[in-house]
Amino acid sequence: MDQSNEQIGSASVSGSFEAKPMNIAATLAICSGGWLVPGLAHVLIGRWIRGLIFAACVLLMFALGLAMHGKLYELEFDQPLHLFAFIANIGTGAPYWIASRLGLGIGTMTWPSYDYGTTYLWVCGLLNYLIVLDAFDIAQGRKP
């Protein structure tokens, strides 16, 4: 892991950041891992603490969304607008597929916190997209 840190970049004596981008294939592999398992991309590039905090945030939000009887959307071509909800939902990665397999995320519209739960499920997926993009920028040496 230290080696990958060294590959990515290091702070110079003057304090400016010297970026050494990883090759694009490795970056994409890391980002794919980060999409499937929230926070994994940052862990793989050596940002342990940041990765664990991201993982905790996304997974907590996902769990709370399910606990509040939110709905996980599936790909339905007869309802085109549901595509956006589906794209937001699959941003969570593996937890989405696992929850779907377990029959969770059906969504109980009569439940008082249904709307909040559904929003939580959307937003945790969208946050994970941002987290993956952050990992991409770090791996490409665009930010420290």
Binding site: I53, M68, Y116, D134
Partner: protein
């Protein structure tokens, strides 16, 4: 699990502000300050929008 509106808002703001702070800032001090700013901004905007909507016949 049933959260009150306010609790759901606070938890939402807390998680989102944490992620935003870590993504946008690199120094721990800056991250903390920006995270606190975003968190209270979420709450403030929710209160303001709530009061604006209060007289509306919805």
């Amino acid at each position: 699990m049933i959260f009150s509106h306010f609790t759901a808002l606070v938890v939402f703001a807390l998680i989102v502000s944490t992620v935003f702070a870590l993504i946008t800032k690199s120094e721990p001090r800056e991250q903390f300050r920006y995270g606190v700013f975003v968190f209270f901004s979420f709450l403030a905007v929710a209160f303001v929008v709530g009061w604006i909507m209060y007289p509306l016949p919805l």
